[in-house]
């Protein structure tokens, strides 16, 4: 009887068993996605050219009869381009998420990984790692290049061995990774390219600067804790007297990332794709 019933229908189909969704797979997938877009190459190339080019340009235009205000100022000049490059890096971080929403590819992505949140981790990990490696290299490249320019003049250069210089250089690299991750998280929360870029530039970059002009004292007290300001201490060769200590700076970077990614994760789970 059972046999007769079973022949009624085609045999049950068994899908391939060796294909499995995995964290490593998600990382590789995000890697493929990142590098298969022309915009990634263009924006990162811009970031690299600006960080090195602007550093070199500024370094060579410092009047050589003028004394540099110590190692701190020397670094400020050389790293001016890195600060600008961080804007490119942040915008690309936003686009890696919002680009998926605006084109609809997020539906493919989330049907392949329906738990959703691991996709956010994978995106952040891949992009954060790419930015860390790229700007780890760029910071030192720019440093050596600009110091070579300085050392040919009366200004003299600073050396990696000088106190605080290495830490400040790593601080620049850390800042750019932090801003990249922050921007990616904002993109995941807001989902919209224009909105996220506007929010990043307006609220993260410009608002804390404007806030210092406001007449209230408490504003001046909180601005150092604004998400865009917390990495500032890390960039200083001599952090004594800064609003935040080096430790606090790291702590607050961590807090803002946890807040951003916590919110992004919850929203990602709850909202329809």
């Amino acid at each position: 009887m059972t046999a007769a019933v079973m022949t009624d229908r085609p045999a049950a189909y068994t899908p391939p068993v060796h294909y499995k969704l995995s964290a490593a797979g998600l990382l590789r997938s995000e890697w493929t996605k990142l590098w298969s877009l022309r915009s990634t190459w263009i924006v990162l190339l811009c970031a690299v050219v600006f960080s090195a080019g602007l550093g070199a340009l500024i370094a060579s235009s410092v009047p050589s009869d003028q004394a540099l205000g110590g190692a701190g100022a020397a670094l400020d000049f050389s790293m001016a381009g890195i600060a600008l490059a961080s804007v490119f890096v942040a915008v690309l971080g936003i686009l890696t998420v919002t680009g998926e929403y605006s084109t609809g590819s997020i539906r493919s992505t989330m049907s392949a990984a329906p738990k959703r949140v691991p996709v956010l981790w994978a995106k952040a990990a891949v992009y954060g790692a790419v930015v860390a490696v790229l700007f780890g290299v760029m910071v030192f490249l720019t440093f050596f290049m600009t110091q070579a320019i300085f050392s040919g003049t009366d200004l003299g250069g600073v050396s990696l061995a000088d106190e605080g210089v290495l830490r400040a250089l790593l601080g620049y690299a850390a800042m750019i990774v932090y801003l990249a991750l922050l921007a990616l998280g904002i993109g995941s929360i807001l989902r919209n390219s224009a909105g996220s870029i506007g929010f990043y530039i307006g609220v993260i970059m410009i608002l804390p600067q404007l806030a210092t002009l406001l007449p209230w004292n408490w504003v001046a007290e909180v601005t150092p804790y604004a998400p865009g300001n917390v990495p500032n201490t890390l960039l200083l060769v001599d952090p004594t007297g800064a609003n935040l200590s080096v430790g606090e700076s790291w702590l607050w970077m961590g807090i803002w990332l946890v807040v951003t990614y916590g919110l992004a994760g919850v929203l990602l789970k709850r909202r329809d794709v």
Partner: protein, 306 residues
């Protein structure tokens, strides 16, 4: 097997899907039919977990989609809107998806060849035609060689060759024991592919039946008569429940009775017949009749209301 149980989805005040319950069985192609805005795409998005139901359940093989360890081998989905980044090539799009599951490159090229995108696989998807985009969507659905296929209007934008190809492909996949669920608002299209039908209107279930039963149950049979004595035949046929129309001279279309009755009437009155035939109600008619009250977006121009 797809099980939809009391599925309701509201977007704000708009109820897109309203207490929908049905099952899609493996081994046959099941068509999902409904007028524009009926809630087909919404139901399909709920099955693959993209839209969370307001209440009720959508399960695949007894489980919620997000519980699967390899979602792409369980369900392959082609969703209505383009789900590809315009700046990426077809190959890279498929490769990125394949990598999440450790699916080899070999399988990626295999599905590209299968859907006939071989020559344009390296081109950016932004430049694809509607039909090419649709083929890419089908390739995505097939990538994991899944047990369940969910296709939202797969023939949309395909050329006649492509339509024929996908029809055979889907039937073949169902014959292997897979579950194949495809939506359309073209009844005639589904009739040639699907065996089973789920019809919805305004988010509610209207019919869950086989294609054959659907047509005979809903379409009204019409008897077509060609006769030199058409006028006299029309007079003798007249009766309660019977309507006679004459689309052209010498031709009658009779509804509300059977060909045998028409033939007998003609014989009894000694009228000559040149042709006597039953037109089974077309599928489109059956569909229109069923969904007449459930059509949401109706054009207002008179000519369009047939």
């Amino acid at each position: 097997m797809i099980e939809i149980e009391h599925l309701t989805k509201r977007y704000g005040k708009k109820t897109a899907v309203d207490d929908l319950t049905f099952t899609v069985k493996p081994g046959v192609v099941t068509g999902f039919l409904g007028p524009n805005g009926a809630g087909k795409s919404t139901t399909m998005r709920a099955i693959v977990g993209l839209d969370a139901p307001t209440s009720g359940l959508a399960r695949v093989n007894g489980r919620h989609y997000s519980e699967f360890r390899s979602p792409l081998t369980e369900v392959g989905a082609l969703l209505e809107a383009k789900s590809v980044h315009a700046g990426r090539s077809a190959y890279k799009h498929l490769l990125a998806l394949a990598r999440t599951h450790g699916i080899p490159k070999r399988r990626v090229t295999e599905v590209i060849d299968l859907v006939g995108l071989h020559e344009v696989a390296g081109k950016r998807v932004g430049g694809f035609s509607l039909g090419m985009g649709q083929r890419l969507g089908i390739a995505v659905a097939l990538l994991g060689d899944p047990a369940v296929l969910i296709l939202d209007e797969p023939v949309n934008g395909l050329d006649p060759d492509g339509v024929k190809w996908i029809r055979l492909l889907l039937k073949g996949l169902a014959a292997e024991g897979r579950t194949v669920f495809l939506s359309s608002h073209l009844m005639s299209e589904l009739a040639q592919t699907a065996e089973h039908l789920v019809v919805i209107g305004q988010g509610r279930l209207l019919a869950d039946t086989t294609v054959d039963a659907f047509v005979s149950g809903n379409g009204q049979a019409r008897v077509r008569v060609v006769s030199p004595d058409a006028a006299r035949l029309a007079e003798s046929l007249a009766g309660p429940g019977i309507s006679v129309a004459s689309p052209e001279r010498g031709v009658l279309e009779v509804t509300g009775t059977e060909a045998a009755v028409v033939g007998q009437t003609a014989a009894a009155h000694g009228l000559v017949l040149h042709e006597l035939r039953t037109d089974r109600g077309s599928l489109e008619d059956a569909f229109m009749q069923l969904t007449a009250d459930a059509v949401e977006y109706r054009q207002t121009s008179e000519g369009a209301n047939r």
